[in-house]
Symmetry: D2
Subunit: 315 residues, 4 copies
């Protein structure tokens, strides 16, 4: 099955065809993609289904003024940069966005740790899940990293890759077939076998594996969205959640371009130095030779500092 | 000064004159009053400045469906009633509203206890407060209740009322005059006296009393708004915050009429019986004579039960 | 494997053997079971690992007094009942408890919807999960309810039960064996096959099904705990989460007995009537004959009212 | 009146004299000051009244292990440093602390913006406030800063200081005297004048100014405490809230010394560079001459960078 079924696409098209008059702040660049499903992974998607406010909502909250005021865009940019730099976060809470997301359950389990959003998930207690599960693309079937217990190494290939793909696919197919069999409902595929009662949905679902797709509405304010993206669009995040965050970064850019720029400069591209790191950099800037041992930094911190400031390799 | 200054009214009018095309769910009845200041108390107001979603956002979240679906309004009403009755609260988190509120500081201090909203308040550390303070209307200058330490009794009248009004007004005027004098800034009224430095704003503000007006943007989701209203539109709430809640109830009715009806039926008009209360009512419904002592209810609970179910007075 | 491994039991015993002096409020009845694992389902458990405050913390917060004050227990009980009855919830936020819970993933997914707690879960991205999965006891292998899409009906038996058990067990064993194979790590069971790299842990885990056990630390305040228990110890909650809530109700009783009593009377045993329901009950109490049609109650609400107040069956 | 009344001191002494046996993690250095009021400003205080967990609770949550494990302190320190450096915040949510604070109302209004804590405040709607108000010490009576609208400049002196002190004191005394007069209650000072009803407490309180003292219980987890301290123990925070934060930093050091060290190194003493700032520092470290104009940094950002890394002054 594709990311979105033909019926779903029809509903999306119908919704996109409608238009209303509003006095609310409106963002044409975001309206342009409203409701559209952005395909992610093999069956997932993310789509913006509603929003409230824009860059100006942040500015307005910071000024607690009445209207748009008379300030020019350059001043709005400066103010948003200032707020981002000094972590004055409450004005960013004044804009809100709602996504509809289809994602594998193991990704949903990472995502839900962010507790500051509003969530309504498809209920497998109440309804029957579709036969859709995630299988990585060949270039993402990575080996365990030896250095980093949470990381990936080179991609698997040859017989090993073939075998892993076979196991993942067969087990998923198998789990779903037995899920449907145990349910014994017309909706689950085969016609109901009247000689069997069928297992309760809330129990049968536990036979599905964590790569099956679920979906939810996820609504959050701009501040919490930025926090989510700073963690999940980070290179240390697992690839399968990062692709969602990357797509959401694009929607952020359409929605609040000034906030996006400030976010990329001060947060995504920023580097935080510890007190000891600051002391070391001060000495380096004065041209002193700095020995790691004298800085109080651990070997790991020292490597991180070298990497982030492109210091010459030396220990 | 009126509730809104002429300059503010001009900005409001300008904002109301603009109109945009949107694909988002739009509520004409709420758009009709968008940005308009609803006068509250002697100088305060509340006005809706943005919103996201409508009754259908609640229904959609409950169904986690794609679009508006094919259900009729009667079924949406039934679903919303069901959600309200069984306290399935998460679908109500899927709609959001933002108010701009001007209110006395002592009311703001009660209001802010609701921690689940986003708030940006006018900063008296950064800016100078206006000379606006709350003086109750004569019919609201109530005496302390003898029964209820948090309650009010009959209205003060005659010499006592005259004297109280005089003290409230004189102290407020006095506090503000000294606030402005200590600030010693052109913006604070009189031209700056160059022989004095002027006290820091963050210190001078502490000379103002709790009846001075402040203002903020307050944004919350529908679920938390209902919780706020259930407490603050309640007869036990202090009059000075209840008038804000009452005005917000009107905006709720415009915004989400199905949710409003369910809220009035199940929450505002509802009665919760304890296990002991239920046992007593069961016996009464069977025609038994029930003595308070046998029910395990305290005298106070018994009175509350009598009042809420209109039982004949007997102890 | 039992609920707790011998090594774990040894650590628990060692921790229970230690004792410290403290000036903090201490609850001997809860200390008596501190750290002990209460077995739940076939491999799960819940255990209290820390707590802060007691019933008196609630009372003290309500009085904002300095010490224990001079009030007697009977007055503390009355105050706690009053707070519970009138939903004055903030004093109940002043006590805190921390649990260590081992639970199937599909139960964890329901549980985590309560966003107001602090959670640290065992990471299958970082570590390897044990080969432990949930299989219902025969008396809990229930059929799907025909009336309630979220409910269960009679227990499966005979061939159907046998077959369901076989599928659940075989699929779980199968999924785990392939998980371990794909990992190809010494820790995962068999010695590493050096000809294979091994799949990254963060990917391999997705082959496990939702009945596998995970574990977490879960910390919350008393108010949020009560809210959790009111939903999850409710007869409508799924059996597999209700057994955890029931065990936690026992720990609640040990910890804060006055709050527990109030909670059972006003919340767990309470009944909330809508405005229409109140009107109907008033008429019934006056001896009037009440026809459902006249009340404005839906058929479903009428049945719920009949059930909760034991009205004679009539429509 | 001193910071704590003799009766309050007696209750504190009584509470400190008691001792209990517990199996919970206990921190002797914090127990040593438990319940003791640390004097702040002219009448305020902060005191630790309860706590849950210690540094090990953070470590344990990060490891989701069973007991204390076998790791040495040096490894615990490394782990806590790692968590702090990489902003893995959830393990820090596993320890909790409760303070009792007496503070001026204008300080309370800043403090309450941190919404993630549990709060119970003394109710001036229910009770009568004491005649205690904040007057700055002479060395803190600062002028408004000309550069920074939220900042202070040199201290006021001579006639201006004398006059400001007179106004602050007289207005406070005056406001309180009228508050008591309007209340007309025995508890408010003078015996009740039976010819007057007395104004409701919930109204009379609004005549008090923002320098009057209130008090509350404030409970939060370690993560949120660190966030609070990073903002309020910062040099940019208003002096009158910073003194509370500074005293709480001392309690933090007693409670969780490893977390305290990490916090001081990575957060309080840390510096965050933007992407543009990083690029500039890289060039400086390579010995290049860097012109502000080429960096894309604003004049303000450039000054901040110069200050934090002690760059030679040049524009």
């Amino acid at each position: 099955m594709p990311h979105v079924s033909p019926e779903q696409q029809q509903e999306i098209d119908a919704q996109r065809a409608e238009s209303f008059e509003t006095r609310r702040a409106t963002v044409p660049a975001l309206e342009a993609i409203l409701y559209q499903a952005i395909p992610i992974l093999d069956h997932g998607f993310v789509r913006v289904v509603d929003y409230m406010g824009d860059d100006n909502a942040v500015v307005q909250a910071a000024r607690v003024s009445y209207g748009k005021g008379t300030k020019r865009v350059s001043e709005d940019r400066g103010l948003i940069n200032y707020l981002m730099r000094h972590r004055h976060t409450t004005p960013f809470e004044m804009a809100e966005i709602k996504y509809h997301v289809k994602l594998p359950i193991f990704v949903a389990r990472q995502w839900i740790r962010h507790r500051t959003a509003n969530v309504n998930e498809y209920s497998a207690r109440y309804s029957i899940l579709d036969n859709e599960f995630y299988i990585p693309a060949p270039q993402h079937l990575a080996a365990q990293s030896a250095q980093n217990r949470q990381g990936r190494d080179a991609v698997l290939s040859g017989d090993e890759a073939t075998e892993v793909f076979r196991l993942l696919r067969e087990d998923s197919e198998n789990n779903y077939a037995h899920y449907a069999y145990m349910l014994n409902e017309d909706e689950a595929g085969d016609p109901k076998d009247e000689s069997r009662k069928g297992l309760a949905r809330e129990l049968a679902r536990m036979n599905l594996s964590l790569n099956f797709y679920t979906q939810w509405y996820w609504k959050t304010n701009l501040h919490n969205l930025l926090h989510f993206l700073s963690l999940r669009a980070d290179p240390h995040a697992q690839y399968e959640i990062r692709v969602y965050a990357d797509a959401m970064l694009d929607t952020l850019k359409r929605w609040v371009p000034l906030t996006y720029d400030a976010f990329m400069d001060y947060r995504m591209g920023g580097v935080t130095l510890s007190a000891k790191g600051v002391a070391a950099v001060k000495r380096l800037l004065k041209g002193e030779k700095v020995d790691r041992k004298d800085t109080g930094l651990s070997a790991r911190e020292w490597r991180e500092l070298q990497a982030s400031l492109e210091l010459p390799e030396r220990d």
